[in-house]
């Protein structure tokens, strides 16, 4: 795993299934990792170029929505090579009631958003002691 070379992947533009985005500019679907531990679900999303000011993490009607806006400054000079496009990011996830929705926290560092979704008490596996008698 450690010596594996990174494969490149082109950014995928957001194509909404119903309705259309009314936001200005180009939106991409960020790459995410979601993993689960005993107590929580953790979501990591790559949002390069997004500052804390441009980030919105919303929870509404069981949908967790991530919007990361980048400021596209008009760059001077001539473009010699353009392998990637810049733009904002959008993605949403359905959050079930297995998550304690009031305790969700989020942090952003080096272009990576980390959302921690603690499991609701009822979803935490409990070990049931068995007594012999």
């Amino acid at each position: 795993m450690a010596d594996q070379e990174i494969e490149i992947s082109q950014k995928q533009e957001v194509t909404p299934e119903k309705g259309e985005l009314t936001y200005e500019g180009v939106y991409f679907t960020p790459a995410v990792d979601i993993y689960e531990t005993e107590k929580e679900l953790v979501l990591l999303a790559d949002l390069p170029g997004v500052e804390a000011d441009g980030l919105e993490v919303d929870l509404k009607d069981d949908y967790l929505t991530i919007v990361g806006r980048t400021t596209s400054a008009q760059e001077e000079g001539e473009s010699l090579l353009e392998e990637y496009r810049t733009g904002s990011y959008f993605r949403n996830f359905l959050v079930t009631d297995a998550v304690d929705q009031s305790a969700i926290t989020a942090s952003l560092a080096d272009g990576v958003l980390k959302v921690t979704l603690p499991k609701a008490a009822k979803a935490i596996p409990r070990k049931i002691p068995i007594t012999s008698g």
């Binding site: 990174i6 490149i8 995410v32 689960e36 949002l47 390069p48 000079g77 473009s79 392998e83 272009g111």
Partner: protein, 149 residues
């Protein structure tokens, strides 16, 4: 008299086609080498801009530690090397989705002109690496004003 519509290409045309296919095949092998202007399949993807006095190379590599990044300039060749590690070792965690790529990468880029190796500046902010390379004096276009006499 009308020529038949469908004619076989003359033998020499077939030979030219064969040679061209052969050439394409050879060039494809070379094109995988990172070289400005060729499409490459290497991480990270780069954007390069030519400002009048410098070249600006940028790459999106979110979640890096600057210690894991190595940038080198040799002549006109800029090399970026590093390892994107998983953010944390989540022991006993089970993954539902794993889209964020981790691993090692190395990419070299030949710049179109000479740069001053002492004036290479690299910054890493919000997951974006920006390398600014100041052009050597001789490579900076000089504006010459024409004096009227």
């Amino acid at each position: 008299m009308l020529w038949p519509r469908m004619r076989r290409d003359p033998w020499w045309m077939q030979e030219v086609d064969r040679l061209r296919r052969e050439m394409d095949r050879l060039v494809e092998g070379v094109a995988r080498r990172p070289f400005l202007g060729f499409e490459t399949r290497l991480f990270p993807l780069l954007n390069v801009r030519d400002k009048s006095d410098s070249y600006v190379v940028s790459a999106e590599i979110p979640g890096m530690k600057t210690d894991d990044l190595e940038i080198k300039i040799e002549g006109e060749t800029l090399t970026m090397k590093g390892e994107r590690k998983p953010l944390e070792a989540a022991v006993g965690a089970s993954y539902h989705r794993r889209e964020r790529a981790t691993g090692i990468f190395q990419r070299s880029l030949t710049l179109p002109g000479k740069v001053d190796p002492e004036k290479v500046n690299a910054t890493y902010k919000d997951g974006v690496l920006i390398v600014t390379l100041v052009k050597e004096k001789a490579a900076v276009p000089r504006q010459i004003t024409v004096k009227a006499e």
